[in-house]
């Protein structure tokens, strides 16, 4: 039987339009905009100034706080200015704007050949140091700095490494294509993380709608010690950290705790590839695979794109903005965030750019809740979304906390399944925000 998480989940239509289109290297625009808040946590501090010449791969901003990551120049050119620009959060944040000047001149020490280096020479400390210097963040979407995740807290032991290739979001195919085109790199990357963590078993979890990737990786994984490919049932949200751990190891992460509590560390396949590049080739994280797609996009494609390219440039490469576009989403359709314009640059966290026409993006008028319980059935965390919504509307924050509103991971299954089209997740997010503020103020 195929493995999956036991509770809840929904089955949205796949719509993987770009599953068969190979990764295409995106051309460079005249200007790139590199956000300083590429990762969760504190924004990086720029170490270059206006007019400086930068090489491709050069460090331009340093992550100084504990949870923060380095930012490197993805192009060769001159720093135009450091200015606040609108980003995916909907607010203005500081960004380094670079004028692109011709071909790439690479920073010294970076190996840009395609040779596969299987032998891992670096020690665990060196690996984590290299990951930190390369500015690697989780490429699954949350953009949590990887070096922080790989630093196991005192008293905890990691037993398993889980590599997340589930890609349960509809439309997105960036991880799928990466697994097909760079399987060896992912496997070496996985071995590197295993060495850094000191674990002997790693699982690569892939949903059963990517049979070609499962076949390829299973075949190649035989040459690697302790790596096993696990076929997972196609179900949303299979790729969520806690759900993946439950599906593969059968362990349940306690409420409010991190996966390390049950001896697991989860990394995305894209992150594994980035770690391979950083450790074996000294390549900082300056590019990622991004899927530009949508029902009416003329050439939906997967791009290997440098960080900081404005989205409109990528959309242009995918055949231009369809006329009836009403919504631009960064990430997948279930958990992605709507963007307010196409000038926003690509960041390390964006795995997909979706262009939806009006009929798909319109919200329908909500009807009253009839307590059919479908949201309760669909919730992978075992919460009661309909009840949480009511508690938030009535501003009963203490009760919402008692009903574990904080455990909601905002996967959107409840809102997807609701026959009355109620904005359940909107209210739960509002409540989550309020309740976490209350909890924070209680601690202080």
């Amino acid at each position: 039987m195929l493995k999956t998480f036991p509770k809840g989940g929904v089955h949205p239509d796949d719509c993987k339009l770009t599953a068969k289109s190979p990764i295409f290297v995106a051309t460079l625009p005249d200007k790139v905009y590199i956000m300083l808040n590429q990762s969760a946590g504190a924004p990086a501090v720029p170490i270059v100034k206006k007019g400086d010449k930068v090489k491709t791969g050069q460090l331009i901003a340093k992550g100084e706080a504990f949870i923060s990551s380095n930012v490197h120049s993805p192009v060769t050119g001159t720093i135009d200015k450091i200015d606040p620009i609108l980003d995916a959060t909907g607010y203005k944040h500081q960004a380094i704007i670079i004028n692109v000047e011709g071909e790439d001149t690479w920073e010294e020490g970076i190996d840009i050949t395609n040779n596969l280096i299987k032998e891992i020479k670096a020690t665990p400390q060196e690996i984590i140091e290299k990951i930190k210097n390369a500015g690697i963040v989780g490429l699954g979407g949350a953009a949590f700095p990887t070096h922080v995740k790989l630093t196991i807290p005192q008293g905890k032991v990691a037993e398993y490494l889980l590599i997340n290739g589930a890609e349960c979001e509809p439309y997105l195919t960036c991880d799928h294509r990466l697994m097909l085109e760079k399987p060896e790199e992912i496997l070496v990357g996985t071995s590197i993380i295993m060495k850094a963590l000191g674990v002997h078993r790693a699982f690569i979890g892939i949903e059963n709608n990517k049979l070609d990737a499962i076949e390829l990786l299973t075949k190649l994984a035989k040459d690697y010690n302790g790596i096993e490919v696990v076929t997972l049932k196609k179900k949303y949200p299979q790729g969520a950290e806690k759900q993946l751990i439950k599906a593969i190891t059968g362990r349940e992460v306690p409420s409010g705790k991190l996966p390390i509590e049950v001896g697991c560390v989860v990394q995305n396949v894209g992150t594994a590839k980035a770690i391979y590049d950083a450790v074996q080739k000294n390549m900082p994280l300056i590019e990622r695979v991004v899927t530009v797609t949508g029902p009416n996009v003329s050439k939906p494609s997967n791009f290997l794109s440098r960080i900081g390219i404005p989205l409109k440039h990528l959309i242009e490469l995918a055949g231009g903005l369809p006329e009836d576009t009403a919504k631009l989403i960064s990430g997948g359709p279930m958990m992605g965030k709507t963007l307010s314009n196409t000038d926003i640059p690509l960041t390390k966290a964006m795995g997909g750019i979706l262009l939806f026409p009006y009929n798909l993006s319109k919200r329908l008028d909500p009807y009253p809740c009839i307590r059919c319980g479908r949201c309760v059935h669909a919730c992978p965390m075992g919460l009661e979304p309909f009840y949480l919504e009511k508690l938030v509307i009535k501003e009963r924050w203490e009760d919402a906390e008692k009903h574990w509103i904080i455990d909601c991971m905002e996967c959107g299954s409840c809102q997807y399944i609701c026959p009355a089209k109620r904005p359940l997740l909107d209210y739960i997010r509002l409540g989550k925000n309020k309740v976490s503020a209350i909890i924070r103020s209680r601690k202080n």
Partner: protein, 291 residues
């Protein structure tokens, strides 16, 4: 006939026994309460608005009696009249406060700050605030989803469908401060009502550099310092490219209003200046009056 008599006797006996039990329980568990609490609670408006910081009017009354002082306790809806009555009851002196009113420090109407995209999530400013900067792109301006109207217990606020901004009905506003707490962007401020309800304030909260502020909104404060230079009473401070008029120092001379290049200083309830009558009639945007 007999069952009726039996039932009557049994029930009467039970009633008598319970009456005795209740009498003793009442005596035993009697709570001694200060009679002044009831008297004060009677005097209070009874709206349970929560503006004083307590859950309701009775809790406020209890707090007064418990503390036996009026320090930091003020019922804004009741005003000075109610507070002096309470002070008399408690043999204390009430601090005289000037009557205040809520003002909306944003003029980002659909006309001044044109919407750049649609929003169709839930109608809640608190939620919209952590999604995006706002339809017009101003990260400091009014989101126009009416959290303040929801919070107002005195029907003193409504959303103007033409401008998309909340409007304060001065006569109903009691300055309880619920809207101030409800606004996620701190746009609403309580200011002194002023003589003849006349007020001058900067109707902008944008702390960006002038060029960015002006890009989104026609009437944004650009921090040009013109008003601060004009003011002879040191009432205007510029911080983070934003002017703020201190209502305690302002003498309502109206000189700053005339020099503001973006018309973001509002004058409320003034008669039009005689020599400028013609100008003001043409320039209606400058004379938005809050009622």
């Amino acid at each position: 006939m007999e069952p009726v008599i039996i039932a009557f006797v049994v029930l009467s006996l039970m009633a008598a026994i319970f009456a005795v039990i209740i009498y003793f329980v009442d005596k035993q568990f009697h709570v001694e309460e200060d009679p002044r609490i009831d008297l004060i609670a009677e005097k209070l408006p009874g709206a349970n608005c929560g503006g004083c910081g307590y859950a309701g009017c009775r809790n406020f009354a209890e707090a007064i009696v418990k503390n036996n002082s009026l320090d930091g306790l003020f019922c804004a809806p009741g005003g000075n009249k109610v507070m002096s009555e309470i002070a008399e009851l408690m043999n204390l002196t009430a601090e005289e406060k000037k009557p205040q009113v809520a003002v909306i420090r944003c003029q980002g109407s659909f006309e001044n700050c044109p919407p750049k995209h649609d929003y169709n999530g839930i109608k809640n400013c608190g939620f919209a605030n952590f999604l995006f900067a706002g339809k017009g792109g101003c990260a400091y301006g009014c989101l126009g989803l009416g959290d303040c109207v929801e919070a107002c217990k005195f029907d003193a606020l409504y959303m103007d469908p033409i401008t998309g901004l909340p409007v304060v009905i001065e006569d109903n506003c009691t300055a309880c401060g619920n809207c101030v707490k409800a606004c996620p962007r701190n746009i609403i401020e309580l200011r002194n009502k002023g003589p003849k309800n006349r007020r001058i304030y900067v109707a902008c909260m944008n702390k960006e550099k002038g060029i960015y502020a002006k890009a989104n909104c026609l009437v944004a404060c650009i921090g040009c310092n013109a008003c601060a230079k004009e003011c002879k009473f040191d009432a205007i401070k510029i911080e983070n490219f934003l002017a703020y008029i201190d209502y305690k120092k302002c003498t309502l001379c109206r000189k700053c209003v005339a020099v503001c290049p973006t018309n973001c200083i509002l004058e409320v309830n003034f008669l039009p200046k005689k020599q400028e009558n013609a100008n003001i009639a043409n320039d209606s945007s400058k004379n938005i009056v809050n009622n």
